[in-house]
Every structure is written in structure tokens, then in C-alpha cells.
Amino acid sequence: MKLLSRTEELLLNCILRLEEDAYTFMIREKLKEITGKTWAFGAIFISLDRLESKGYVKSYLGDETPERGGRRKRFYSVSKEGLKALAEIRKIDQSMWEDLPVSIFDQD
């Protein structure tokens, strides 16, 4: 199985955290919270599309809300495959950092 990219990993992570509230706007807010950076919508849309076409996330339509110009929300949830992939990448992350002492980042 191909490994997740970092963006995909982040997105899945956000969707899991947001639980019932995972639609693009909120995902973007969460991303900002975690990474401290503003994300372009385009990048998020494309990655979400890709995740969906790979079967890692599922989406369903929500209600209309006035602050969205009367447009409906598209909610995302992580699928079984998504969870599996996420678990795998987490394992790799852990094993990748395990043996390295934090002190390597201290310069001088």
C-alpha cells in the first residue's frame, strides 16, 4: 500500500478531531490551529477530492446555512481504509523518531 502524504495525513487527522463538524471551512481552521499557517482552499479541495477517490474519506451533504451564501456543507468522515492508512503512517512516524534523541536539534 502506498503511504499517505503529509498533507493527506494532516487532513485525515483534522477530520478525525472535528468528528461531526468536519467540513472544508472547519478543516481549514483546524489546519491553521495545528500548523500555524493559512492554507489555500484550492490545496484542500484537491487533496480532499483525491482522498475521496482513493476511498480514505466519505462525504455527505449537510444543511444550508446563511453565512455560506445559502450553500450546503459537504461533511467528511474517515473510512475504514483511511483509518488503516493513518494507523500505518503513525507507526512509521513513531518508529522513525523513537531512537533519535531530542538533543540533535540543539545547535551548538
Partner: protein
Amino acid sequence: MNKPNASPQPPRLAVWLLKRLFPDEKGLYTQLGDIDEAFNAMAKEKSHFVAKAWYWMTALRSIPCSIWRSLAWSSVMMKNYLKIAVRNLQKYKTGSLINIVGLSIGLAFCILIYLFIKDELSFDRFHEKADSIYTIVTNDHFYEYSHRHGPVPIAPVLKDHFPEIENFVRLVSQRNVPVKYKDNIFNETITIADPQFLEVFSFPLKKGNLAKALISDSSIILTQNAANKYFGDENPVEKVLLLTFVDKQKSFIVNGIAENIPSNSSINFSFLINMDNLNSITSSNSEIDWRTSRSQSYLLLNEYTEAEHIENRILAIVKPYMSAVYEIRKRYGSLVEKGETITYSLQNLKDIHLNSSNIYGLPRSDIRKSYILAGIALLILCIAVINFINMSIGRASVRAREIGVRKMLGAGRKQLIRQFWIESICTSLISIVLGLFIAILMLPVFNSLSVKNLTIHSLYHFQSIAVFLLLMVSVGVLAGSFPALVMANFQITDILWGKFKLRRKNLFTKMLIILQFSMSVFLLVASMVMTRQIRFMKNYNLGFDKDGILIVDLQERDTVKSQELLKLFKENIQTHTAIMSVSGCMSSPNRTDLYGMIKHEGKNIYVWENRVTFDYLKTMKMNLIEGRDFAIEFTSDSSAVIVNQKLVDELGLDQPIGKTFTIGPNPPVTIVGVVKNFNYSSLEEEVGAAALNMDPKSGLFYAVVRISGENMTDTISYLGKKWKEIQPLRPFTYSFLDDDIQLFYGDENRWNAIVGYSSFFTVLIACMGVFGLTLITVNNRVKEIGIRKILGASVSNILKLVTSEFVLLVMTANIIAWPLAWFVINRWLQNFSYRVSFGLWPLLVPGIITAIVSLLTSGGYSIKAATANPVDSLRYE
């Protein structure tokens, strides 16, 4: 904003843009909703302005990515379209072949004509200073024509008066100058030019110094071709050539080799010598001779000068010098009461080639030639495109199912049209590659027909390639448009239910076939009439017998010497049995012509004068009506003339013999004989008045020799041998009189060939179309034919069923084309004073040809269907 709590709206234009970039067929635009939500949050948090700016940023940033994605998608579709296009080409092999062959012939014609027009328009533009070089045109209001030759001193005089004239060049051409190097001796045309010639014009030198090459009066410049002719592989520089002017010989040192003159140059030279030599050629002092129009003059103006500015003031400066000429003309009895009978104007170098309809002196062309050729090429292309359209429509019912399925799967109109365009562009791509090959193969034939020197190299040019690509795409789009529009408009349900029928297309197809055959018939009629007219002119009785007459150029322009030379030549050859008769003359058809004017009862009669010698009538086999021929017994014959019937009529003489009249300022002459009218010029012109005289003050430039038809080559080589004995320094130069006369009709012969070829190809392509359509019709009606056969239809019944439609269409086309062809061709015939009557044959023959050929092409395939066993076509699996 009216409502205080109303949320700010995102910029509308950006919303529109985003909607386009994130298409959503269900119209939900959930993604847009997310962006709006962020916008609102930002507007609350920061300011409306920042939010708006951010919104715009988001919209604009999405553009590159979305373009990329749409490209990726269309390339996927493109791959599919191409695949289907290639499959269709392979599936309908015969049809594709007909389309490709037709289109490639049409495109080949277009390519050739494009090269032709490009060459025509490029004339004389290679000179760096072309914009500022003007030629002096002499406008003769007396004889009502203009020419490029003027007095030799005019250019220097003008330069002295106008500081705007930076430089000038005069050119004098001298024909038939014997040029000798070792044993090689040829007659050449020598160009005598001012030494600044090479600086004003851009004729680059291969060898030699541009500024010094022509400085000395004994230096000569050769073109590469001329140098090869004389020196072969030797280095020509510093070699000595011996030129003979009149009777003086002069040595010239080769001081430079010029590149060969480009074929798109009006000015042409092979041998170039300095202007100082002019006086050794002409007996008078040319530098002050205003009476003879001897040189072409070119002025180089500085960039800031308008030509009109100088043109308007030329006359005032030239007038004092020209007064003598005007005086002489007044004595002639000028029609122009007062004022100047000769004026001068300026013409830009670039206008010489295409803009000189009434200006003589240099080879010139006519823009109408380009138009007619372009018209013919487009006609052929049009016929090929019609084939394509007709066959696509004919096949529409077969392809309807494919279209239906495509539509059902969601293909839009635009996508279907695009698909058909891609198919037709594929065909035209293959055709243009094939067309280029055909064009290259036909180039030699085309060059000889168009008197051009086009090469394949002109094809490898950015502009040419761009034109070909444009041609390819436009032919593809044009040919694909109609089938595309028709098929894209199909109703899916009709197609899939099998109710599909095309009624209107049938009428359209018929109209296109009629159009095709009308064009073919038009060209066929034109070609027939042209051929008939040319044959008519060839066989026309000119008033003398032109066959078997040899015109030998004596190359001696001195009066007395030429007469002596002729006498000597005659005495030497007369005894040979194959030589029937020998005489001499000053002018001969298509050679130097001399016209004089007779003032008679207030009107002017122009008369063609020819100085001849004894036996001229006998040699030419002219028919004497009244009086006698010149004879040695009559010593008064130096003032006698033999005139033609036309001149007698013009003078209104009842008893012409013994009457006298005066030509121009010459002493009066007496009529001793009258001959039947004879045509000394092209049959385009009506027969003119002519007078033959024996004036001893005129030279005899040509020997006229009638030889018997047997062993002509032997006789000619005998003549050549005798010539060598008496004139070892000059080459034996001769031509047949009937060839000289045919030269009048060079243009007509070439046009006839061009129209002949084109009509052949139009008929060929149109018939290929008929064949292709028969194929489709028969295949579509296989079952119908089978049922008819079972019900008792005979083979001929079936044949009639299929072919009668085409034959009927072809007949209709004929009826439409005839009046048009009659009108146009009759206008062309009006150019000739002597012409064939139009008659019925030139209309009927093309009609019969097209009918038979279309019958054969459509019948050929249908006979296969008609004789097939109906079981094969009706058996259901």
C-alpha cells in the same frame, strides 16, 4: 449598506470566476460555500476590504491549476476522437481514399498557386533601396503609349537640377553582340550601365570589388551563369573577352562575377559594361542626343522626397532640350494641337512588375493572372471539399448510432462538433502532406506553364509553412462543419428508436453535386473553346505561306553593309536544290516593327512598313491582286511600294496603280502593286495597312529563305556552313517563321494548358465523388435492391435506379453552367479580331463527356450490386 446586520457580499465577478473554475453540474457549489464562509469570518474579524482582497486572491490563484485540469481532460477526449478518426479512415477505405486524393490534388494546386502569387508579389523587393528607386517613364501622347526608354542625357540633367536625387543609373541594352573567348563565340545581350549601378541596385558580387568593378571602360562584369558558359571551371577573373560592336572589336577584362539574377527581378543582365562604351556602339554622340529614346533611367531619391514632388517639375527642366523633338512632331501634323507630345513620369521600382499595363520596355505581368489562377485553385479545392461533405452526409445514417450513443453518454453539441472537426482535420493533414509531394512533382510542369522559376526551397519558409497550416486547418474546419452541424443536431430518441431519416440533406447533397459539375463543365467548355481558337489561329490563312520559311538574322545593322551581306549570302546559297527562294527584309513578324503614318484627308493612317528586296512576294507566297512585283528592270523601284488591300481601302483609291502618297516626312512613293491582306501581327489585332518598299536608305536585317520540306536539317546545316564561310565572326542565327508567329500566342497556349489540366482534375475529382456516393447509396440500399430483384426487377432496372439520379444531376449542372460559360468565354474571345464562332459543340461535348463519365463511374459499382444474388443481401444472419 442599508441593513446594519447584513453580511458583506463577496465580489460578484470573483464569484462568477470561481463558479467557472469549480464546475458543479448539480448547481450545489459546496466548495464555494466554504470559501464564502471563510470570507464572512474574515470580514467580521478583520475588514471587508481585506476579505474581498483575499477572495480575489483565492479566485485568481485557482486559475492555473484548473486550466491544467481541463487540458488534461480534453486531451483524454482528444485521444478518443483521434482513435475514432483513424478507425473511420481505415473502415471506409475507398471513401477515405477518394477524400484524400481529391483534397490533396486541390491542396497541391493551392500550394503551387500560392508560390506563384508569392513570387509575383516579391518582384524587385530584394533591392535594399527599392523604396527610393524610381524609373523614368516616357509618356508618348502622340502614339498614346508609355515606355521605359528615354533620352540618354535626361537622368544627369535631372540630377543637376534636383538635389533630392541622390544618384541615377542608366541602362542601355544591346542585343546580338558577338562575344568571343578563345574558340567560343556567341551572340549576347550586353547591358551598358553607369558604374554606380551596383551601388544603387542590390545585385551582389561573388567576386570583385563593388565600388571599383565597373570604373574602367574596359572592364566587364559577368553573371555566374554567363561566366560558366564561357570559362567553365576556369577562374574567370582577369580573363579577356572580345566584344564586337558594329565592326569594331574591343577587349574587356573580367573584373567581377555577379550572383545570378534572381528570377523575381525585372532588371536582368548577363554582361555589364561601363556607360563610356555607349558612343562606340552608336554613331552619334548619345550624351547630348535628346531625339533618340535609348536608355532606361533610374533615379535614387533621398528618403524624404515624394516622387510626385519631382515628377511635376520634370517637364519644365526637360522642355528646352526637347524643343527640337516637339518641332519635328509638329511637322508630322500632330493631333495634339499645342503642348508637349512627350511627358515624363516616375514609377517606383516595386510597381514595375504588376502595375505596368500600358508601359512597355520590361517584362511585366498582370495581377489578374494571379486572381484567375487563385480562382481555379480554389475551384478545384472546393470540388474536393464538396466530395468530403457529401460523403460524410451520405455516411451519416451509418454513424447515427455512434452519435446517439455518444449523446446518451452525455456528449454535448460542442463536443460532437469538435469530434467531427478533428476527423476532417486528420484527413486534411494527410492530404496536405500528400499535396506537398504532388506539388513538388508538378513543379517543373507548372514552371513551364507559368514561365516561372519556382523551386522547392520557397516551400521551406516560415511564412509558407504558416500558410499551409492555415490552409490545412481551414479546409478541415470547412469540410467538417456541415456534417458536424447536421449530426450534432440529431435527436437521440429518433436515432435510437431507428426512426432516423435525413430528408433535407438529400437536397443539399444534390445541390452540391450540381455545383461541382457546373464548375467542371465551365472549365471543360473554356478549355474546348481555347483549344479551338488556338487551332484556328494556327491554321488561319495569314495571306502568306508561313511554313518552310527560315528567317536568318544577318546581325548587321549598317544599311549598306547589310544589303551587301544579304546579296553575298543569297549568291552563295541560291544554287542548292532544296532552297526554293531567297529574299531579304527589314522586319518580320515578332521582330523589329516599323510603323509610319500617312496623313490622308484629315485622318491619320498608321501603316506597317517593311523594306524588302526582290523575290519577297515569291518567297513569302503572297498573292498579288493588281500591278506587279518589284523587278530589276525598273530602276524607279526605289520609290515604289507594294501595298495591301487594306491600305488601298483606307486611302479610298479606285485605281491604286500609279497613285502616290507620302509616309511621314519621307518623299512620296508610287504604288506599283497591290497584294491580298496579310496579318503581320497577332490575330488578336485586325489586319492593318501595310506597305512594302525597296528604299535603298533602309537596311535589310533578315534573310528570308524558303526551303523544301524534305531533309530540312541537312538544308539548315548547309546554310550554317555557308554562313560560317562568309561571316566567321558571327554565329548562324535563325528561326522558323511559323515558330515566330506562334510566339504571339505563347500566353494563349499556356493558359490553354493550365485550363486543360484544371478541367481534367475537376472532372476527375467530381467523378471520384460520384463514385464514392454510389458506393454509399448502394450499400445503404442493398436490401432494397435485393427485394426489387426478388420482385422481378432486371439488372438494367436496378442500374437505372442508381445511376439515373446522378446523370440527371449532371445534366442539370450542364444547363446551369452553359450560359455562364458562354458569357465568360465569349468575353475572352472578344480579345481576338479573328475568332472561331462559339457554336454548339463546345457546349455539347462537355455535356456528353460529363454525362458518360458520371454514368460509367456510378454504373460501374452498381452493376456489382445489381448482379449480386439477392439471397446474400436479404439473408438475416
